[in-house]
């Protein structure tokens, strides 16, 4: 009986659908992909498809963390500019570090234009500032979020190219690539960045009142204001934080390929981030949110991509599969669709379920 109750509680929880989606994708891989779950140790580092997914999903998981909070503030809250902020953050870091291999007193040395910590801090500061600009437009001026962030989406690519002067800047300074490709304790360093950022965010929203405030703003902003919550302050902070997250993701992406491309870095990442949040069982109209769900959503997206590569399916089809999965998962989360299913399901439930499986 208690197991049944537990199951019922779990099946009603926000995390049920995202975990189910991840489970289906993983189950699919368990059956069809060889060596999907095997992990081996090479030169003291852990290698394997699962580790690879975690590593590659890192920028998306970081973006999804910031985006979850933005979407949770409701009122159509969304930040479509994160892809551009990624490009700018990478461009700033690359332009400041630059770097070259020089011989100083007969010894090979990596030389940077500006010391690396300063460059990283500058890139993060710029990203946070851009996020704050979005927050200013949304919270202080009261512009619709999608419109406000659209400005930066359009301008951002231009700004990034302004920083890089239209070139792809290559970073020759080796230590910088540690951020995106390094290993710590046998695990990719990016996983630690995700863990640190996620842990901090989780602590802030769940162990302080902030998370409650954000949820209450998302459910009813005016009621929250009348009950004494400084709505515009929290909305502003959330957007600034989302900019910061995009900055971190930008550094990882830039460091991973050791170059900054103003045009293509983070292209369409905003869409993936919003998707991760939606797949994570978060309502896109705000209110209650789950950070863990968004992380799972990001993992689902990356798992789908990786398993398509692993299956040897032409990578061109990735987008089509992604689209079908998105539609299927959104439909599963839609109340109306489930009602329609239940109505029809009384006569031919098996048939309908089969259809969903086939879609996935």
């Amino acid at each position: 009986m208690s197991i049944k109750e537990g199951w019922e509680r779990f099946s009603k929880s926000q995390l049920f659908w995202p975990i189910l989606a991840l489970a289906i994708v993983l189950l699919f891989n368990l059956i069809f992909t060889k060596d999907f779950f095997s992990i081996e140790i090479k030169e003291g580092h852990l290698y394997g498809v699962a580790i690879d997914i975690l590593n590659r999903a890192a920028p998306l998981m970081i973006l999804a963390t910031g985006m979850t909070l933005v979407i949770a503030t409701g009122g159509g809250g969304v930040d479509v500019s994160v892809g551009s902020v990624i490009a700018i953050s990478g461009a700033v870091a690359a332009a400041l570090i630059g770097g070259s291999l020089q011989y100083v007193d007969g010894v090979q040395q990596f030389v940077t234009n500006v010391s690396m910590p300063v460059a990283i801090l500058a890139a993060l500061a710029v990203a946070t500032l851009l996020g704050a600009w979005n927050g200013f437009l949304v919270a202080k001026i009261g512009i619709q979020p999608i419109v406000a962030t659209l400005i930066l989406l359009v301008a951002g690519r231009g700004l990034a190219q302004l920083v890089t002067q239209g070139q792809i800047i290559t970073i020759y300074y080796k230590p910088f690539s540690y951020i995106g490709t390094g290993f710590l304790l046998g695990l990719p360093f990016t996983i630690f960045i995700v863990a640190a950022l996620f842990g901090l965010t989780y602590y802030m929203v769940r162990k302080t009142a902030m998370g409650l405030f954000i949820e209450s703003i998302g459910i009813n902003a005016s009621a929250s204001r009348f009950s004494g919550i400084n709505v515009s302050k929290y909305v502003f902070m959330v957007y600034a934080f989302c900019g910061f997250c995009a900055g971190v993701a930008g550094l990882i992406i830039c460091s991973n390929v050791s170059s900054a491309d103003g045009n293509n870095a983070g292209l369409f990442m905003e869409l993936d981030a919003i998707l991760a949040v939606a797949l994570g069982g978060n309502s896109t109209s705000g209110g209650r949110f789950t950070l863990v769900g968004s992380l799972i959503g990001a993992l689902v997206i990356q798992s789908i991509t990786t398993s398509i590569y692993a299956l040897g399916v032409p990578p061109e089809i990735t987008l089509v599969v992604k689209a079908l999965v998105v539609i299927a998962i959104c439909l599963m989360q839609s109340e109306e669709f489930r009602k329609t299913l239940q109505r029809k399901g009384s006569t031919n439930r098996g048939n309908q379920c089969g259809k969903i499986e086939a879609k996935l």
Binding site: Q144, V321, A323, F337
Partner: protein, 327 residues
């Protein structure tokens, strides 16, 4: 008082037209050869596809929705028609109506998902965007050239205009779409229902308006417009490629917003959209004439304009609401 209110409604439209005139005047004063009918017509020729798709987008924004799949649909239409014409050798007269049907079916599918299952327009059309781009790559990952004689003719044919100038067939298509859009928005039941949905969907339902049908129709119309824009774009590029029209959806949305249609719905001007596109064209032309500025300044300039317009809108609306509360 009534006259003043009317002014408020149209103020952003006036500003858009004024701004375009200002940009054109500034260009004419700064650069030799800028002030000519052909430069003006070239703005139409080079942006015909954007005008067509932006008009469809205007209706979507009027009902308070959004469609970010249009750029991808345009790419899909180019790719599909290139494939059918160049690889399968099917007649252009079969391909053209088929493409329009594909676009309408695509728009209908998205509208159906949004209306029937209450999916967020952003998410549903995001999926549509992935699907359309993905299908492009399924057809081919390389560029397919179009060498169909009819397409070549449409691409190069110049319609003579007074003062030794000319326009292309695409401009005629764009202007016809504009007229049809104006008619639909201002003189039909469909247009009035669309405005009512954007103003307040629940009220529209309670008034007994066909909300569900109109919403799906608006997305279908937008699918049709993006397919038509795709055809115009394939006349312009004479090729199909998976990366055609990347970011075009944002250009279209920006044009519509600059044209005085806010994303909140209920208000919208098809004429404004034309000038929104022309303003972008004017900025591009100015930067081209200037010669030393790089192309990315276009994006920065458009975004700054977008920003100014949005803030202006906000000020107008809050002022109007302030008046209401006093009265």
């Amino acid at each position: 008082m009534g006259k003043l209110k009317l002014n408020y409604k149209y103020i952003s439209l006036y500003i858009t037209i004024l701004l375009f005139s200002g940009l054109f005047a500034a260009g004419s004063m700064l650069y030799d050869g800028f002030f000519s009918l052909q430069v003006l017509l070239n703005m139409l020729i080079d942006n015909a596809f954007l005008i067509v798709t932006a008009i469809g987008m205007t209706f979507v924004l009027i009902i308070g929705g959004i469609d970010i799949s249009v750029g991808a649909v345009i790419a899909l239409i180019c790719m599909l028609s290139a494939h059918l014409l160049s690889v399968r050798h099917i007649s252009a007269f079969i391909v053209l109506p088929a493409m329009l049907l594909v676009g309408m079916a695509f728009g209908f599918g998205q509208g159906y998902l949004i209306q029937k299952f209450k999916l967020q327009p952003f998410i549903a059309t995001l999926a549509g965007m992935f699907l359309a781009r993905g299908l492009c790559y399924v057809i081919s990952i390389d560029t397919i050239m179009i060498s169909d004689p009819f397409y070549m003719q449409m691409s190069t044919y110049k319609i003579p205009m007074p003062f030794d100038t000319h326009i292309s067939i695409s401009v005629v298509i764009a202007l016809a779409t504009l007229l049809a859009g104006l008619y639909l928005a201002n003189f039909t039941k469909f247009g009035r229902t669309a405005y009512a949905i954007g103003g307040n969907e629940q009220s529209a339902v309670l008034m007994g308006l066909p909300v569900a049908r109109t919403k799906i129709l608006v997305y279908t119309l937008n699918g049709f417009c993006s397919a038509l824009a795709g055809i115009v774009f394939s006349f312009y590029m004479l090729s199909g490629y998976g990366l055609h029209g990347v970011g075009l959806e944002m250009d279209a949305i920006a044009s519509v917003v600059i044209g005085g249609t806010p994303l909140s719905g209920g208000i919208g001007f098809v004429t404004g959209t034309l000038f929104g596109v022309l303003i972008q064209g004017a900025i591009q032309t100015l930067i081209m004439f200037q010669g030393t500025l790089s192309s990315w300044w276009t994006k920065i300039a458009i975004a700054s304009l977008l920003c100014v317009f949005i803030i202006l809108h906000k000020l107008i609306i809050s002022r109007r609401e302030g008046r209401k509360s006093i009265a």
